[in-house]
């Protein structure tokens, strides 16, 4: 594995969260085409469902848009009821894309040049 590096997803991709009712949609968009395969392989429905386990999504569905090097993640029933029902301060779930963007991603070292941001390598300590 010494020809691989582990970096947070936010160095490979950006995204935005939207909502409809009690459903969240989170986009993940690669900064560079060369990073797309690693994102696809690791930001899976199962991995995202695990990331949101405490919110108990009824379903996580992933839609791939390879020509845009982007994916749309749709999470059902993760917004504590959504904007009309939630007790959460963030009843829209607007902050949730950053929960995905801090996922650790294992990447071949030669792709490092395509990463954005600081080479801080400081992965979040938490595992949630």
């Amino acid at each position: 594995m010494n020809d691989h590096i582990t970096v947070p997803l936010y160095r490979l991709a950006h995204g935005r969260t939207g909502d409809k009712g009690n459903r969240s949609n989170i986009s993940v968009i690669a900064w560079h085409p060369a990073l797309w395969d690693a994102i696809c392989a690791q930001v899976t429905e199962a991995a995202v469902a695990a990331l949101f386990a405490d919110r108990q999504p009824r379903q996580v569905q992933r839609y791939l848009l390879p020509q845009l090097q982007a994916m749309n993640l749709v999470l059902d029933e993760v917004l504590d009821g959504g904007v009309n029902d939630a007790l959460n301060l963030d009843s829209h779930g607007k902050t949730l894309c950053f929960r995905v963007l801090k996922m650790p991603i294992v990447l071949p070292a030669h792709l490092q040049a395509h990463l954005v941001g600081l080479d801080d390598a400081a992965l979040p300590a938490t595992t949630e």
Binding site: R16, G21, N25, L65, Q67, N72, L87, N88
Partner: protein, 461 residues
């Protein structure tokens, strides 16, 4: 189809609001740019979110003249003269729960500014809250039909009445609930005269509308992330303008001299925003498919969207129904200094014990977790508070059908001033009526849509 007709010139359409409460100084630079470019031009304001209409109905209940966008006059006053003088036609859903009231207010604004009387069209058909529609809603909602009285019931109607009003000569089209992208498709249909089953063109202009409908979310707003996504001039973000051509494809740009940025990255984020299946984005007008779409840099702050395809429109319209569903209450208090988080946790336990068995309480400890935890507050329960910030804010929230019962939570938090742990300060609390919402689908032919002219005595007085 063989034709030797010259295709119509491209049209420009600017967006100067992405939600109710957006910046009211947005429209000026957009209108200046539209005037300078001297092409057929339209301006939209998108001011309705899922809940906004129900809130507007509540406002109208208190004041029969209210119920339209509260900032309507602030939004229009700076640009109405230029729009009327340069035939930049305005389309907006700022009518909310009272489009006729909004039209009267616009007519009065034009009079007060000494402008010619604008021809104002009011789109109708979305409001299904009257008793006549109740059997239809009851059938569509089935078991979901609320027992409580309805606050609002609105269908997401499409672009056709907007297009018809513009073709009939409207300067301003005031809508209530229309699908957001229809605010753009309506002008495109009026300008280009496409057939209503030209699915690819309908889908392309619809996605142009989708890119515009959130205002600056396509031009650098809601994008910046220092060190990763730099956005210049956040204090003066340029609101977007789309140039749509006769193919329905569009280029997105923004006024010269404004802040923000339009790049493939900003456009991709907005393209996917609040989309479910990218192959079938449902609108009342068309099913848009962006699975083959291309986002292409055309120049500095100019990006083109191509490759959208369309499928026949859905047979049904989405209807959102809101009803009053009790009361939401929340309250906050701060703790700072040594053992702040431990004192805050004791405060939370104190309140929870006092209110045990009444309703579930959500607890957040801002500085430890404020939004990512679940309603059961499992994160907070598991958090190591010894490493927490020395300046934390406790927030507690719940809901209850009975107003007086709901008010007990803020009262208990307030009582922490004397009865709680040491050094608590800065109590703020908040109560509001909750709105429940259920959605259903109603067959399109059951919902009659159209437009009427705003009362002429108002417009010409």
């Amino acid at each position: 189809m063989q034709t030797d007709k010259t295709p119509p010139a491209p049209m420009l359409i600017g967006c100067a609001a992405g939600f109710s409460g957006d910046r009211v100084d947005a429209a000026g630079p957009v209108v200046q740019a539209l005037v300078a470019l001297q092409q057929p031009a339209f301006l939209i304001f998108e001011t309705l979110a899922e809940r906004t209409l129900a809130l507007a109905q509540l406002a109208r209940r208190d004041d029969p003249e209210a119920g339209y966008e509260p900032l309507l006059l602030e939004l229009l006053r700076p640009v109405l003269a230029d729009c009327l003088a340069h035939r930049i036609r305005i389309v907006s859903n700022f009518g909310a729960a009272n489009p006729q009231g909004a039209a009267r207010a616009i007519a009065a604004l034009a009079r007060s500014l000494g402008l010619r009387a604008p021809r104002i069209a009011v789109v109708q058909g979305d409001d299904l809250s009257g008793p006549a529609h109740r059997p239809m809603l009851a059938q569509a909602l089935g078991d979901q039909m609320p027992d409580q009285p309805l606050v609002s019931a609105n269908a997401y109607i499409g672009a056709r009445p907007i297009a018809e009003a513009l073709q009939a000569g409207a300067d301003i089209v005031v809508c209530g609930r229309v699908a957001d992208p229809s605010l753009v498709l309506g002008p495109a249909m009026a300008h280009f005269g496409w057939a209503w089953d030209d699915w690819d063109r309908l889908a392309r202009a619809t996605m142009a509308g989708h890119l515009l409908e959130c205002g600056t979310q396509v031009s650098g707003g809601y994008f910046a992330d220092p060190g990763y996504k730099e956005v210049p001039g956040m204090d003066q973000l340029g609101y977007p303008i789309a140039e749509i051509d006769d193919s329905g494809n569009c280029s997105i740009f923004k006024p010269e001299g404004t802040g923000g940025c339009i790049t493939p990255a900003t456009v991709k984020e907005q393209l996917l925003y609040e989309i479910h299946d990218p192959r079938c984005y449902l609108t009342p007008d068309v099913v848009a498919d962006i699975s083959q779409a291309q986002v292409l840099a055309e120049g500095e702050n100019r990006v083109r969207l191509e490759g959208v395809i369309g499928h026949p429109r859905p047979a049904s319209l989405k209807v959102n129904t809101c009803y009053a569903s009790g009361w939401f209450a929340e309250a906050e208090i701060s703790y700072a200094g040594p053992r702040a988080a431990e004192r805050a946790r004791l405060a939370a336990q104190t309140v929870a014990q006092r209110l045990q068995g009444i309703a579930p309480i959500r607890t957040d400890l801002i500085g430890v977790t404020s939004v990512w935890g679940n309603d059961a507050s499992d994160w907070l329960a598991g958090a190591d508070l010894s490493t927490a910030s020395p300046d934390v804010r406790l927030r507690m929230a719940w809901q209850h059908a009975d107003k007086a019962t709901a008010a007990r939570l803020p009262r208990e938090v307030n009582a922490l001033y004397c009865c709680g742990p040491a050094g608590g300060g800065g109590v703020r609390s908040h109560m509001r009526q909750r709105l429940g919402m259920v959605s259903c689908l109603v067959p399109q032919p059951l919902i009659a849509t159209g437009f009427v002219w705003a009362a002429q005595e108002e417009a010409t007085a």
